[in-house]
Symmetry: C2
Subunit: 360 residues, 2 copies
Amino acid sequence: MPTLQLDLGSRSYPICIGPGLLGRSDIIAPHIAGKQVMVVSNETVAPLYLDKTLTALIGFHCDSVILPDGEKYKTLDTLNTIFTALLKNRHDRSTTLIALGGGVIGDLTGFAAACYQRGVNFIQIPTTLLAQVDSSVGGKTGVNHPLGKNMIGAFYQPRCVIADTDTLNTLPERELGAGIAEVIKYGLIRDAEFFVWLEKNIEALRARDPASLAFAIERSCRNKADVVARDERESGERALLNFGHTFGHAIETGLGYGAWLHGEAIAAGMALAADLSCRLGWISAPDQHRIEALFVRAHLPVRAPAQIGSEQFLDLMAVDKKVSGGKLRLILLKGIGQAVISADFDPQLLRATLDACRTA
Amino acid sequence: MPTLQLDLGSRSYPICIGPGLLGRSDIIAPHIAGKQVMVVSNETVAPLYLDKTLTALIGFHCDSVILPDGEKYKTLDTLNTIFTALLKNRHDRSTTLIALGGGVIGDLTGFAAACYQRGVNFIQIPTTLLAQVDSSVGGKTGVNHPLGKNMIGAFYQPRCVIADTDTLNTLPERELGAGIAEVIKYGLIRDAEFFVWLEKNIEALRARDPASLAFAIERSCRNKADVVARDERESGERALLNFGHTFGHAIETGLGYGAWLHGEAIAAGMALAADLSCRLGWISAPDQHRIEALFVRAHLPVRAPAQIGSEQFLDLMAVDKKVSGGKLRLILLKGIGQAVISADFDPQLLRATLDACRTA
């Protein structure tokens, strides 16, 4: 039944993708060890899908905690709200946390599971395209700090991921686009054939054609699972999944979390990285134009916001985790489908990219 | 040079015990991978030992963050103070955190290291007896929540532990006693020969006889390292190290953190557990008296504070992590040097222990 498996030895887990999965006890129940379950969701998703989720959990002792919606709540304070709910309801070490929502809920819930009583089980039920193709898979969890995004967290794997594609029917347009940004990412960094497929099918994705979405989600998860299985803790190859993120995080931090959606910031970040790759002579101008054109057709930004100056942008980038030993490393392209991580670029060209790729 | 080694495969690390270790670069420097170091200490310990610690770190880029002193600061808020210091000073993934202080500093720093950028290196320099014989070894890190002690944390191992016995010369009497409580614990749970040694040498320990202290620290660390090597994540045997802790945590939570020192609460907790073990017929009355007498000679409490009623005490115990599937499990004695974990006891006898072992 699982669509695919993330292979991590004793921490391997299934990823189930498809319509109508949410209410199915046969899919979720085998991954719950104890009797207690805490569903963590938010004010947007809970009214839509909490009841349906609970119908699959009959026989368990279920509590829920409903958080406010938005990236700006991905904080230590919100994390503490989850801990308080767990302790008030006397959840013990055998409890299972279920993340029902998008990337913020998944990151918060996973990190809460990693820390509660030094680690309890959790299950991901991603309800946004972005979470289904990216954040729910691979075990990166955490919260933001006012001085930097995702600076506090843990590598902590779920017991399973259940991606019910029906939940995408209620997804706002902008969030659909944000998810498509991460889908395009896989094409750019390691799957040129998928990039060509996306060039043919981007309008179908935006129109939520079920078959196209299902194909894109599965292909994205396969790419992600492949990379994570080989490099769980990001000592090498996994860093390529952060393509566009150093630029994107600078935008998110500079504007304040939530002004742009994560996927929107990452789209602009990838466009900037492509611009720099072109200035370096690593990709051709036609390829750079293909990349930019695909983002534009996906209704995604390809420029950084004007209000962040180049100096501030560089400062914000310097805080990013990809800095090592004081040197800024970036993920850049040597071609479509071929990303590399490199500190070996002319800082003047980075400056030129930042000066050029700015909204008017 | 290391006194002993904690054997955990790729995460093995040395434990160095002895006088004059604090200023020695040859001991600490090999365990620092990058160039950046953040020393975390508190207002009591920093004036005494921070400068000496820094002399061993010449050549590294060192920052420090000085926290207020006390168990009541072992919170998510204080943790965030460490994250802010790391981010303000632009510490990257290659940084090393150094915990310079007692158990609270070690637990906070280790947990900060576990979470900062999803995990950076850290080193333990315990400066209290309790931290040297217990909390600095084994990788349990975390913070308290108003509803329960150590409810939020991670298993995260240091790169090395440096226990400079000279630091015990400045330790207040009460804290020395709190450390002795944990030393006695090893005798009670798994080392009857050590218990007999303690019966002969308890006054020498209280008088800080260097040879006696060095012997007790090394023997305690050996016991701890043995247990942790066999059961790092506390799926079995390691739970025995929590002897006295379910009772003790109830005292600490009931009185508010910091009213009693952790070791004092644990001493009373062990005395209560011994009382219950005796009521169950698992240990003899003479052995129970030997245990109580040793705590009394060590100037440690053997009764719970009167202000926590038995009902409240049971409630507080129920929150403890050792509850599994709704059933309270306790660590009890089948003899001196032989602890067991059990849910198989008459609740009436637990009630009788709580009613009887109370200060007037």
